[in-house]
Subunit: 200 residues, 2 copies
């Protein structure tokens, strides 16, 4: 089997186990067992269990950031951009919940240097949201406010999502993102989206 | 040493370790080592590691619910009640972050019957928030809206808190709760709190 394909299978197995049981409770032997391998032979593909956690978290950070960069390039308007960022985040989370759990919870078990690197990348990612809110406030489309807390509101809503979302639930991810955006825009004091506003 | 005192010390040690490393990665031996006990002698106080997780999560659920019940008894007005619920939640979380981590994350490692019992109690707790929002909407102090998502917004904000709050950060917990409440009331379409509103 191709080494890259095997590496991918190993990452997938690690992701499922880290999400279900936690990083510390998953051994290299557990991961190998998922692939009908011996623990020892897994080490021809990886150096250490933490490399798998790092590969997963690093890749998730890449995906979050590249999606946000694409959204930012496409939507100069801060209101549209913020809504599109929320949609992209929710849809990516919904597409791979195990990845979301590992990225949002297990990342804290990385060794300090890697944990710091991920903290920086999280900050880089959140900057897309922060910047959209800042531009909206600057252009008077959002009310003046504590922009740090406004960003926290958005990140809390889109991140806590992985705790309750079920793929077989009543609403698809894009409808959930729509509900989130209605609440977020109201919290920011933005005008209601056209065609969705309720008269007051 | 008094058995109840010893039990309390065991719960405290378990809480710290479950929060720091995760439930699955913590052994009874690890907990005993924190108290300079042998693993075996811990079993004179508890039957199984899961009993400790259950004791911690069950006690946290009790605390959340009894605080919410006290708030509900004190504040008949739904806007005041919702704000007081948010304050009580944030202050309780801030007072014991390890407890918050165990309650919000490690609870999912309980055995099925206990996990279900806690899911019910979480629902019971969230009903206080849901009910305040529902009354606010019914009395036209909050805008008509998807009350389930409005409740989710509040729970996301107050629960995600444990992911970023640092006791040595710039804002005390009650100031954070105040910022949360400004955003929440605006998201619900409530009038700005007296003395804090910004003119639009």
């Amino acid at each position: 089997m191709d080494g890259a394909v095997r590496k991918e299978q190993i990452c997938d197995a690690a992701k499922r186990l880290f999400a279900a049981r936690g990083y510390h409770a998953t051994s290299v032997r557990d991961i190998a067992a998922q692939l009908d391998l011996q623990g020892g032979s897994l080490y021809s593909h990886i150096d250490a269990k933490e490399d798998l956690l790092w590969a997963l978290v690093d890749r998730a950070a890449d995906s979050f950031i590249s999606r946000a960069a694409a959204v930012a390039a496409r939507f100069p308007d801060p209101t549209e951009r913020l809504q599109a960022l929320v949609r992209a985040h929710v849809e990516y989370m919904a597409s791979d919940l195990d990845n979301a759990v590992v990225f949002h919870h297990e990342w804290r078990f990385l060794a300090p240097a890697r944990r710091l690197a991920i903290a920086h990348r999280r900050h880089e990612y959140e900057d897309y949201f922060r910047q959209a809110i800042h531009e909206g406030v600057s252009r008077d489309v959002f009310l003046p406010q504590d922009e740090r807390f406004a960003t926290l509101l958005v990140m809390s809503l889109v991140n806590w999502f992985y705790q309750w979302y079920r793929p077989d639930g009543p609403l698809p991810a894009d409808a959930i993102a729509g509900r989130f955006n209605e609440l977020i825009l109201r919290a920011l004091g933005a005008p209601a989206p056209i065609g969705k506003g309720k008269s007051i």
